[in-house]
C-alpha cells in the first residue's frame, strides 16, 4: 500500500494523523479509500471530481500533472501539499 503524507494542517480531517498507508492504484482511489477511513476528507482534497485547486500531489518526488488520475504503486510515497505558483 502507498504511504500517504498529509501536511499538518490537514490532520484534523484524518484523526490527527499526517502519515498513513492507503490502498489504491491511482490518486483517486487513494482519496476514495481515505474518505472511507476519514469521512469528510474527500471534500478537502478534491473539487468537482478533480484535485482541489490550490493543492498539489507529489508522487515519488514528482509533482503530478494528472491529478486524481495519477498512477500509484504499492511502494509509492504520496504527498498532498499546498501548490506553488510561479512568477
Amino acid at each position: 500500500m502507498a504511504e500517504v503524507w498529509l501536511f499538518a494542517s490537514l490532520k484534523s480531517y484524518a484523526g490527527g494523523k499526517t502519515r498513513m498507508t492507503v490502498a489504491g492504484a491511482t490518486v483517486r482511489e487513494l482519496v476514495d479509500n481515505l474518505e472511507r477511513q476519514f469521512p469528510g476528507i474527500k471534500e478537502v482534497l478534491s473539487y468537482q471530481g478533480d484535485l482541489m485547486p490550490g493543492l498539489a500531489v507529489v508522487v515519488d518526488g514528482l509533482t503530478t500533472n494528472l491529478g486524481m488520475l495519477e498512477s500509484v504503486q504499492d511502494d509509492s510515497e504520496v504527498h498532498f501539499l499546498p501548490a506553488i505558483g510561479g512568477g
Binding site: 501536511f7 494542517s9 485547486p53 490550490g54 507529489v58 504527498h79 501539499l81 501548490a83 506553488i84 510561479g86
Partner: protein, 776 residues
C-alpha cells in the same frame, strides 16, 4: 579555483551540441531596438474609444450607491459600467494554471469593487469616451456614496481580536484545508484567510540535541514588480457575441479563461491576442482591465475600447508582493550540523486571500537537510492592493529570514558560511521539511563553485566594508504547452508557440527545435500566437517556458524528423530505417553515400512528393527541476549618510543546461538587480489612511545602472533528467538570495544586524547613530 573572468559557464565538456549552449542574436531584437515591436498600448483600431477607471479614495469603505447619470450625459461619453454589470461568481474557484487557487468572485470584485472598496485605488467604475480627456472628465461626474470604514494596514493589526473585518463571510474565505470539519461550529469572522502547518521529526527533541540556538524575526514591506510597461488592454465585443482582446500579459490563455469566467460567457467566445510584453515578473498573471474593456465595448455598441493604466494606477491598483513577518529558530550542534528548525511565516495578502505564504512555507527550509522541523504559515488580508506573484513568489522574504539566521549561526559557531552550508546542504535523496524527497539537485555544486570563486578569496580592505553570503531556492514550475512547426520550401521552419516571450524565450525554444533538426537557429521563425491559433499553453511563469515549451519544440522537431525520414525513403523507394538523419541536418542513404539531401533540399521537394510537413506537439511535462543559487556581495556603508554601496556582486546558479547562456546571465542579473532594490531601497510607503505616498518611480526607488556594479555570474550545469537537454528554470531563483546577501554584508561591514527591509539610508544611519558608529 575558477579562472577569473566574468560570466563563467561550468558545462559538461562531453556534450556535443551545435546550437544549444551558443549565443545567437534574439529573433525579436531588431523590432525591439528600432521601436517597431507592438505593445498593448500601440493598438489603434477604427472607431477606437478610450477608457478610464474611477478608483476608490478610501482604503476601506462600503459602497452604498453609485450614480453614473451625469457621466453618461456628458457629450462624447459612450458607456459607463460598474460591478453591477458583472455576474455573481460566489463560491466559484479554479486553478490559475500553476496551482494558484483563484476564487473568481474575489477576482471579479477586485476588477470592479462589489459591495466594498478594500484599498485606496480599488477600481469602482469605468467610462468609455471618444477621447481620453472626456473619459477622465466623466469620472469626476460619477457620484459614489461611501460609508468609510476603519482600514487595517498590517497583519499584526488584522489578527488582533476586534480588528475590523474585511470580508464578513470569513468562513467561506478560509481554504478548504483550514475550514472546520463538517458539523463543527462555524469559525468567527477573521482576517486570517488560511493557515498552513508542516511537521517533520521531533522538533522539541531536536532542539535538546542542539549546542547552539539562534532566533531571529524579520519584516519585509510590500514591493512592486516594477515592470516598465503599464497594463493596457483593448477589447471589442463583436455583433456576433464574440470578443477580441489585445493585451499585455504573461499568458493569452490566462486572459481568455479569466475574462470569460468573470464575464460569465463561454471560453470559445473570447480570442486573446498577445502583444509584446514589457516585463511581468508575475504581475501580469491576472487580469485587471480586459473584462472592463469588454464590458465598455458591449455597452458602446461594439466599438473597441482601450484602457491603459498610468504608473500611479499600476502602483495603487495592481498587486505588489506581500509584506511579511517571519520568525526563525535554528538549532545546531557545535560541529555545525543543523538538528532542528521552527519557523512561523505571516504574509499579508492584501485585500483578498492568496498571498504566496504556501510557497514561503515550502521554500524556507528547503536548501537544508534538517531532521526535525516545524513550519507554520498564515495568509492575512489587509486593506492594501491584493498581492500577486512576484518572481519566486514567497521565497525571497523566506530566504531573507532563514539566510540571515544561518549567517548568525555561522558567526556564533565561528564557521565559514559556505562550509556550514555545504555541511547541511540538501542533495539528491534529502527529505524536505515539508515531506517530499529531492531528486537530483545542484546545491552542493553551486556552493562548491562559490567557494572556489576568486571573489570569495579576494581580500576586502577598508572600514565599513563587508562581504555577505546567502543562498536561495525555488521549485520551478511546468504546465501544458504546445508547438506547431511548418517546414517551408526554402528550408526555413515557421514555429508557432503559445508562450508570451518575456526573457528571450522565442529564441531559447527555437534553439531546441534547431538542435534536433540540425539547422541554424536563424532558419527558424518563431511566432507567439493567439488563442485561436495554437493549443492551450499555460502562462509564462514559474521559470517554465524554456523547459515546457522547449520540450514541446523538441517533440515537434522529432515529429518533423520522422516525416522527413519517411519522405526521403519514399523518394528513394527504400524503408525509413534505411535513411540516416545526421546532426548536421543531412538525410542520407545508409548504404549508398551518393544519395543524400540537405534539410533545405528535401524541404524544396515536399509539395510534389506527398505534401507539406508540419510537426506538432502538445505536452504537460512534470519535472521542471529545482533551482538553487548562492550569492556573494561586497558592500561599503557610508557612515555619514547610511547609504549602502554595492561594490562587487557574484551570483552562482544551477541552470541544468543553459540553452542560451546570455539569456541565463540576463535572468540572473535581472533577479539580482530586483533583489538588491528590495534589500536597500524599495517599499510601499502607506500613510495611516492607507494611501500610498510614493506611487511614482521618482519616489519608489528602484535601482538604476548607477546603483549597481557589474553583476558577475557563474552558471553551474547539473542536468535535469526531466528535460532532453537538462534544462532547469532559471528566471526566479536569482531574486531569492540578494536580500540576505546584502544584509549579511552590512553586518560584516558594521556589526549591525538589520531585521527589517528596506535597509534604506535613513534606517542604516539611525542604526549607526544608535550604535555610536556614525561619522567617518
Amino acid at each position: 579555483m575558477l579562472e577569473n573572468k566574468p560570466n563563467i559557464v561550468l558545462a559538461n565538456k562531453d556534450e556535443a551540441y551545435t546550437v544549444v549552449g551558443t549565443r545567437p542574436p534574439r529573433h525579436d531584437a531588431l523590432d525591439k531596438v528600432t521601436g517597431y515591436a507592438r505593445y498593448a498600448a500601440d493598438i489603434s483600431l477604427p472607431g477606437l474609444l478610450y477608457g478610464a477607471l474611477l478608483r476608490s479614495p478610501h482604503a476601506h469603505a462600503r459602497i452604498r450607491s453609485i450614480d453614473t447619470s451625469k457621466a453618461k450625459a456628458l457629450q462624447g461619453v459612450k458607456a459607463v459600467v460598474t460591478s453591477a454589470e458583472l455576474p455573481d461568481l460566489s463560491g466559484k474557484i479554479a486553478d490559475l494554471g500553476e496551482g494558484n487557487r483563484a476564487n473568481y468572485n474575489f477576482m471579479s470584485n477586485n476588477i470592479l469593487a462589489g459591495p466594498k472598496a478594500l484599498y485606496k485605488g480599488h477600481a469602482v467604475a469605468a467610462v468609455a469616451a471618444v477621447s481620453q480627456i472626456i473619459a477622465e472628465e466623466a469620472l469626476s461626474l460619477i457620484k459614489v456614496d461611501y460609508e468609510v470604514l476603519t482600514a487595517v494596514l498590517s497583519a499584526r493589526e488584522a489578527m488582533k481580536d476586534g480588528a475590523p473585518i474585511l470580508h464578513e463571510g470569513a468562513n467561506t474565505l478560509a481554504g478548504p484545508e483550514a475550514r472546520p470539519p463538517s458539523g463543527a461550529a462555524p469559525a468567527k469572522p477573521t482576517n486570517i484567510a488560511n493557515r498552513l502547518e508542516f511537521k517533520l521529526g521531533d522538533v522539541a527533541e531536536g532542539f535538546k540535541q542542539a549546542d547552539v540556538i539562534v532566533e531571529r524575526e524579520t519584516h519585509t514591506k510590500a514591493v512592486h514588480q516594477g515592470y516598465i510597461e503599464p497594463h493596457s488592454a483593448t477589447a471589442q465585443w463583436h455583433a456576433d457575441g464574440n470578443i477580441t482582446i489585445w493585451s499585455s500579459s504573461q499568458g493569452q490563455f490566462m486572459v481568455r479563461d479569466q475574462t470569460s469566467t468573470v464575464l460569465g460567457i463561454p471560453v470559445s467566445r473570447v480570442k486573446a491576442i498577445p502583444m509584446e510584453i514589457g516585463g511581468g515578473f508575475g504581475g501580469k498573471l491576472v487580469v485587471y482591465l480586459e473584462p472592463v474593456a469588454a464590458l465598455l465595448s458591449r455597452a458602446s455598441g461594439g466599438q473597441p475600447v482601450k484602457l491603459t493604466m498610468s504608473r500611479t494606477e499600476v502602483f495603487e491598483g495592481t498587486g505588489p508582493t506581500s509584506g511579511t513577518h517571519i520568525t526563525v529558530k535554528l538549532g545546531a550542534t557545535k560541529e555545525g550540523r543543523l538538528v532542528a528548525a521552527e519557523t512561523h511565516l505571516v504574509y499579508e495578502a492584501g485585500a483578498y486571500p492568496g498571498s504566496p505564504v504556501g510557497a514561503g512555507t515550502r521554500c524556507i527550509l528547503a536548501p537544508y537537510d534538517i531532521p526535525n522541523a516545524y513550519i507554520e504559515g498564515l495568509d492575512v488580508v489587509i486593506n492594501v492592493p491584493r498581492s500577486v506573484a512576484y518572481r519566486a513568489p514567497g521565497s525571497p522574504a523566506a530566504a531573507f529570514a532563514m539566510e540571515t539566521a544561518i549567517d548568525e549561526m555561522c558567526r556564533t559557531l565561528k564557521m565559514d558560511p559556505i562550509e556550514f552550508r555545504l555541511l547541511n546542504a540538501a542533495k539528491e535523496g534529502t527529505r524536505q521539511a515539508t515531506g517530499p524527497v529531492f531528486a537530483r539537485i545542484g546545491f552542493v555544486e553551486v556552493l562548491q563553485a562559490a567557494k572556489d570563486h576568486p571573489h570569495y578569496h579576494t581580500k576586502l580592505n577598508g572600514r565599513y566594508r563587508g562581504r555577505g553570503v546567502a543562498s536561495g531556492f525555488w521549485f520551478n514550475a511546468s504546465g501544458p504547452s504546445a508547438a506547431i512547426a511548418s517546414v517551408n520550401a526554402d528550408g526555413a521552419v515557421s514555429l508557432v508557440v503559445g508562450s508570451p516571450d518575456i526573457g528571450g524565450t522565442r529564441t531559447s525554444v527555437a534553439m531546441q527545435l534547431a538542435e534536433v533538426l540540425g539547422i541554424p537557429v536563424d532558419r527558424v521563425k518563431p511566432t507567439v500566437a493567439d488563442t485561436d491559433s495554437i493549443g492551450y499553453t499555460s502562462v509564462t511563469g514559474g521559470s517554465g517556458v524554456t523547459y515546457k515549451t522547449g520540450i514541446a519544440c523538441y517533440e515537434a522537431a522529432q515529429d518533423i524528423k520522422r516525416q522527413m525520414l519517411q519522405r526521403a525513403a519514399t523518394i528513394w523507394n527504400i524503408k525509413p530505417e534505411d535513411v540516416e538523419y545526421t546532426k548536421e541536418g543531412v538525410l542520407q542513404h545508409k548504404s549508398d553515400p551518393n544519395l543524400k539531401f540537405t534539410f533545405a533540399q528535401l524541404a524544396g521537394r515536399l509539395n510534389n512528393t506527398g505534401g507539406p510537413i508540419v510537426g506538432r506537439a502538445t505536452v504537460n511535462p512534470r519535472s521542471p527541476g529545482n533551482a538553487f543559487a548562492t550569492h556573494l556581495a561586497d558592500v561599503e556603508v557610508d557612515p555619514e549618510t547610511g547609504k549602502v554601496y554595492v561594490l562587487r556582486y557574484t551570483a552562482i546558479q544551477d541552470a541544468g543546461k543553459a540553452i542560451h547562456p546570455t539569456y541565463v546571465e540576463g535572468q540572473i542579473q535581472g533577479g539580482v538587480a530586483q533583489g538588491v532594490g528590495w534589500a536597500i531601497n524599495e517599499e510601499y510607503f502607506f500613510n495611516d489612511q492607507g494611501r500610498m505616498m510614493n506611487p511614482s518611480f521618482l519616489d519608489y526607488r528602484m535601482p538604476t545602472s548607477l546603483d549597481l556594479p557589474m553583476i558577475d555570474t557563474v552558471i553551474v550545469e547539473v542536468p535535469n533528467a526531466g528535460h532532453p537537454f537538462g534544462v532547469r528554470g532559471v528566471g526566479e531563483v536569482p531574486i531569492c538570495p540578494p536580500l540576505a546577501t546584502i544584509c549579511n554584508a552590512i553586518y560584516d561591514a558594521t556589526g549591525l544586524r538589520f531585521s527589517e527591509l528596506p535597509m534604506s539610508p535613513s534606517k542604516v544611519l539611525a542604526a549607526l547613530k544608535a550604535a555610536g558608529k556614525n561619522g567617518a
